[in-house]
């Protein structure tokens, strides 16, 4: 019995020590990791959806609240003036979540482009939503009627990948909703 208690104690204490140690490490590295994730996951998408800015959208990012959730918004500023914003939304696709970075042209009141950040769609089929043939349809698209043709919109779905296409469009629609309700705040934040 005594040996058994010793066993239990040794194992638990070891777990506790490593747990604490790792948590400390996690706290130290957390901000660095966040930065890294932004740099390597979001940054390329931002670059593809925003153009003509002279600031660092990642450095200037700000958090907003929408419907009880925190939304990270990346601004595109030129000569001190906000020309566009990008924000990331997600929707369920065929293989899991599809994360979409949606860029807005503030002045034109249109979409400046979308980029897929992460997704797990079937390679070669659903994954084609990330290809420019599909995403280019959103470039310069007005801020309404973002819908697949089958549902009365003007976006061509990828053949054989309706679910992935719908998921992407849903994400864009989410982003649109957020943009519409927060766009006044954006203008204030980066002016």
């Amino acid at each position: 019995m005594k040996e058994m208690i010793k066993m239990v104690v040794v194992l638990s204490v070891l777990c506790a020590i490593s747990g604490s140690g790792l948590a400390a490490l996690k706290q130290v590295t957390e901000p660095i990791i966040e930065e890294q994730v932004l740099t390597y996951v979001q940054a390329p998408a931002i670059e593809s959806v925003l153009t003509g800015y002279d600031n660092d959208p990642i450095k200037d990012r700000k958090k907003f609240e929408y419907d009880g959730q925190v939304v990270m918004v990346f601004p595109a500023i030129k000569d001190g003036k906000l020309i566009g914003v990008a924000l990331e939304t997600a929707s369920k696709g065929f293989g899991g979540q599809i994360n979409v970075m949606v860029g807005f042209d503030v002045a034109a009141g249109a979409l400046s482009g979308i980029g897929i950040t992460t997704m797990k769609e079937t390679p070669g089929i659903g994954s084609r939503v990330a290809e420019s043939g599909f995403t280019a349809q959103f470039q310069g698209h007005p801020l309404k009627m973002v819908e697949l043709k089958s549902k009365g919109g003007d976006i061509d779905a990828i053949a054989g990948a309706t679910i992935s296409s719908t998921g992407t469009v849903n994400a864009v629609q989410n982003a649109l909703a957020i943009y519409n309700s927060l766009k006044d705040q954006f203008a204030q934040s980066w002016s």
Binding site: C15, S18, G19, L22, A23, G96, Q97
Partner: protein, 191 residues
Amino acid sequence: MQEYFLLFIGAIFVNNIVLAQYLGNCPFIGTSKESGVAIGMGAAVVFVATMAAAITWLVQAYILVPLGLGFLQTLAFILVIASLVQFVEMFLKKMVPPLYKSLGIFLPLITTNCAVMGIALICQREELDLKTTILFSFASGLGFMLALVLLAGIRERLAVRRLPIAMRGTPIGLVMAGLMSLAFFAFKGMI
């Protein structure tokens, strides 16, 4: 229903845990010399992988995520799996001695079988729900068993062939595994 069926077939053939995902290679090469051993090891992996994936899913969903400790996933999972294997060994020994006799000696090997841990991790990454997790892990285990038994069959025949001495044993086993992997590539078009 079709979704589950595809998941099942996909996990066995298309994304075979050994031949496409490179997981569980040590036991794959190590225990594929005799088909009897391969069947025993395969069965043990099916059994343990399913249980481990289910339990780690619960641990993740009800302990780590609520507490914001997602980063401890690896540590928590391996603890759970190691304990589970030991528990299963004791349980089988007491309750189902015939099963213990046939699977018992393979159980300790499974603790360090990365297929088991890998399946649990994949289930988390893919954000599968509990039901799908169980199905997926069971199918992946079956995929492991299939690959193992097939390779054992090949290697048993190879053992009596005239081969350059340098190729005998592990090298030819690996090459055979490569060819099997190539064959399994063909399933990619299936789904």
